[in-house]
């Protein structure tokens, strides 16, 4: 099955009308490369569970309308609410536009921030969605962390489509210099009733002996579609602790690629996805162990209710000669509804001899015995269900690498879980 293609003529028109801020050559190169390969389809092994038709449909409607740039000033309230409640050095990309005010407000001497347009880089061949991102990009953010910072660096990607279909790109390049310890908050949020497609790219290089703690929250409006690619390369003896929380969105596809090309790297990455009626959340992770010794540990957990589908595909590749690799993968799912579907697939490819690898996947329902135990103590069914689903999510929430965010994450996870469970109790009453 092949979905309808993106209208390439309209796309070309829209790309050519973008303001020339020095990114035109890379946009043209990306467009050409994109044109050659097109979007992935269900026939591609990495995309067999996720149909990009909604991306095509929304994009085509937006392209037909001339690819209007969405206003970013109207998002002020949402931006203020987040940047004022969470203490961080914030940078904001609103409806695809880098907000200069936030760029200019960064004065900490450990953080160097610039726009792609300040020093345009030549286009490098990428995967199709990243090509599309480069072709339609207004401007990107480049960050260099040269010294330890007093508080996390926050990257807020916020979108709103008011009445017509919207499309917005965000692209962030981060370089963490050797020996530096840094914390990042990456927050994707949106509102609005119209359909919207957000496409984001984030690349990070963690220097030798540097240590990064990174929290990523995706809390998009329920009709919004997002694809994202996050690529992290670690230097010698570098450390990365990352956690992703996916709460919203109609169709979400996250690709996380971690490249361990130098010895001594240590990576821990966790994920939590909460999906309700009509949601499709797909997490594809890939770790390339190119040399040893190095350690990667990932644990993703999902809570699914209603008619929804989630995908977890965790790939670890231990390349020839990467002896001393220790790679661990775990994926656990709690299905609260018979209509919920999870496609969980751990993949290990090992070409080295001296390695330690493990993987485990579980799919289960709420434990009836535990439910009865709590009810026999006087907690009603809803409360007991809430307590048990929270407990399932708790590990991933409490292990959050950026402690300044734990409270916020706890609150939004609680809120989303309550909504997921509430839907059941409402339908119980109606049926």
């Amino acid at each position: 099955m092949k979905h309808a293609a993106l209208s390439i003529d309209d796309l070309r028109d829209v790309v050519r009308r973008l303001p020339d801020n020095g990114l035109t050559p890379s946009r043209e190169a990306a467009l050409a490369h994109f044109h050659e390969h097109g979007l992935p389809t269900l026939r591609d092994e990495d995309w067999k569970y996720t149909d990009l038709s909604p991306v095509v449909n929304i994009s085509n409607r937006w392209l037909t309308a001339g690819g209007p740039q969405l206003p970013h000033k109207s998002l002020r309230d949402t931006v203020d609410a987040i940047t004022r409640s969470i203490d961080a050095h914030w940078l904001v990309i609103a409806n695809g536009t880098v907000d200069d005010q936030f760029v200019n407000a960064i004065t900490h001497r450990g953080i160097e921030v610039s726009r792609f347009s300040d020093a345009p880089a030549p286009f490098e061949m990428q995967r199709p969605l990243a090509d599309l991102n480069a072709a339609l990009l207004h401007d990107g953010l480049r960050l260099r962390i040269t010294g330890s910072t007093d508080k996390p660096v926050g990257i807020l990607v916020v979108d709103r489509a008011k009445s017509d279909a919207g499309v917005a790109q965000s692209c962030v390049d981060i370089q963490v210099e050797p020996g530096v310890s840094a914390e990042f908050i990456e927050y994707h949020v949106s509102d609005g009733d119209a359909e919207h497609y957000a496409n984001s790219v984030l690349s990070m290089v963690v220097g030798e002996r540097a240590s990064v703690r990174h929290v990523r929250i995706q809390n998009r409006a329920i009709r919004h579609v997002q694809t994202s690619r996050t690529s992290v390369a670690l230097g010698k003896d570098a450390r990365l602790h990352m956690a992703s929380y996916d709460l919203g969105g109609a169709l979400i596809r996250n690709d996380l690629d971690i490249d361990l090309g130098k010895p001594g790297a240590d990576v821990v990455f966790d994920g939590l996805y909460l999906a309700g009626d009509g949601q499709h959340i797909d997490n594809h992770t890939r770790v390339d162990h190119r040399v040893g010794p190095a350690t990667s540990t990932q644990e993703y957990r999902g809570i699914l209710n209603g008619n929804c589908r989630c995908v977890w595909n965790g790939k670890a590749i231990v390349h020839r000669g990467a002896d001393g690799t220790d790679a661990n993968q775990a994926n656990h799912n709690l299905l609260l509804s018979e209509k919920a579907e999870i496609d969980a697939k751990p993949e290990l490819e090992i070409y080295a001899d001296d390695v330690k690898c493990s993987h485990g996947t579980t799919v289960g329902q709420l434990d009836e015995t535990a439910l009865f135990y709590l009810r026999s103590r006087g907690l009603d069914k809803r409360h007991a269900t809430q307590v048990l689903t929270h407990a399932f999510a708790a590990d991933i929430v409490l292990r959050s690498p950026v402690t300044a965010m734990t409270e916020t994450i706890t609150a939004i996870v609680e809120k989303r879980l309550a909504q997921l469970i509430e839907a059941d109790f409402v339908s119980d009453v109606l049926s």
Binding site: D367, E368, T369, A370, F372, Y373, L374, R375, S376, R377, G378, L379, D380, K381, H383, A384, V387, L388, H390, A391, F392, A394, D395
Partner: protein, 250 residues
């Protein structure tokens, strides 16, 4: 207080209780004994409202109220407590959180406000001291990584905090060493009062050395085949359950 008449139940196609009748009054301690598979635990679970048991006949009333109509949580709030034979481990749920939620659910049901956090902790620590429990258990996951004895003490702690009118302890004595058994017995005896009733479900009479029952019933194949005072337990210990079965069929 508790009136069970001709109670019949099944799990799937298997009949478990086959016409059981029992009357328990306030202030009494009843021991229910019987061989494995006689229906002791089923009786405890049916009273508490476990959904895997289908009640196919008979009635159960608690202070005149039809108990079988109530959800498990409503029964708990009305003052029924079931101490589990195998207390459930719930990682990620704090023991103190559960205790407090349970106490507050009951208080709300009785038209009272939520318990004050300070008072709650003070009370919990007092009760834990009498059960020789380390206060650290409050901040651990519910029964998570607890030993068998610790789990049973935790059940008794919950009971002590909830002050039920009817406590049913399902094989609370099984797998306990002598110290834990004494601690559990102390907790149970502390709860004895003219307003409360206690049902001890047990396989052995060992616990009954520490908690003296007023009545002893012997269950076999889903029915009470013999009732008596505490001397019945000693007689059972001496003669074994075959003796009851033979006597019942004679």
């Amino acid at each position: 207080m508790l009136e069970i008449k001709d109670l019949k139940s099944r799990i799937g196609d298997t009949e478990i209780l086959r016409g059981l009748s029992l009357s328990v009054n306030a202030g009494e301690v009843h021991a229910i004994m019987g061989p494995n598979g006689s229906g002791k635990s089923t009786l405890a679970q049916v009273i508490a409202g476990h959904e895997s048991h289908e009640v196919t006949g008979g009635t159960v009333t608690f202070d005149g109220q039809n108990l079988l109509e109530l959800e498990p949580e409503e029964r708990a709030r009305e003052g029924i407590f079931l101490g589990f034979q195998y207390p459930v481990e719930i990682p990620g749920v704090n023991n103190a959180y559960l205790l407090k939620a349970a106490v507050n659910a009951k208080r709300k049901h009785n038209g009272l406000g939520e318990v004050d956090a300070f008072e709650f902790l003070k009370l919990a620590r007092e009760k834990m001291a009498t059960l020789d429990m380390d206060p650290k258990f409050l901040n651990r996951g519910v029964n998570e990584g607890f030993s068998g004895g610790e789990k049973k003490r935790n059940e008794i702690l919950q009971m002590a905090m909830l002050e039920p009118r009817l406590a049913i302890l399902d094989e609370t004595d099984s797998g306990l060493d002598i110290d834990a058994l004494k601690a559990v017995a102390k907790g149970v005896n502390a709860l004895r009062s003219p307003e409360r009733a206690i049902i001890l479900v047990t396989h052995y009479q060992r616990l009954l050395d520490y908690v003296q029952p007023d009545y002893v019933h012997v269950l076999s194949q889903g029915e009470i085949v013999r009732s008596g005072d505490k001397s019945l337990a000693l007689e059972l210990e001496e003669k074994g359950y075959d003796w009851v079965r033979e006597a019942a069929s004679a």
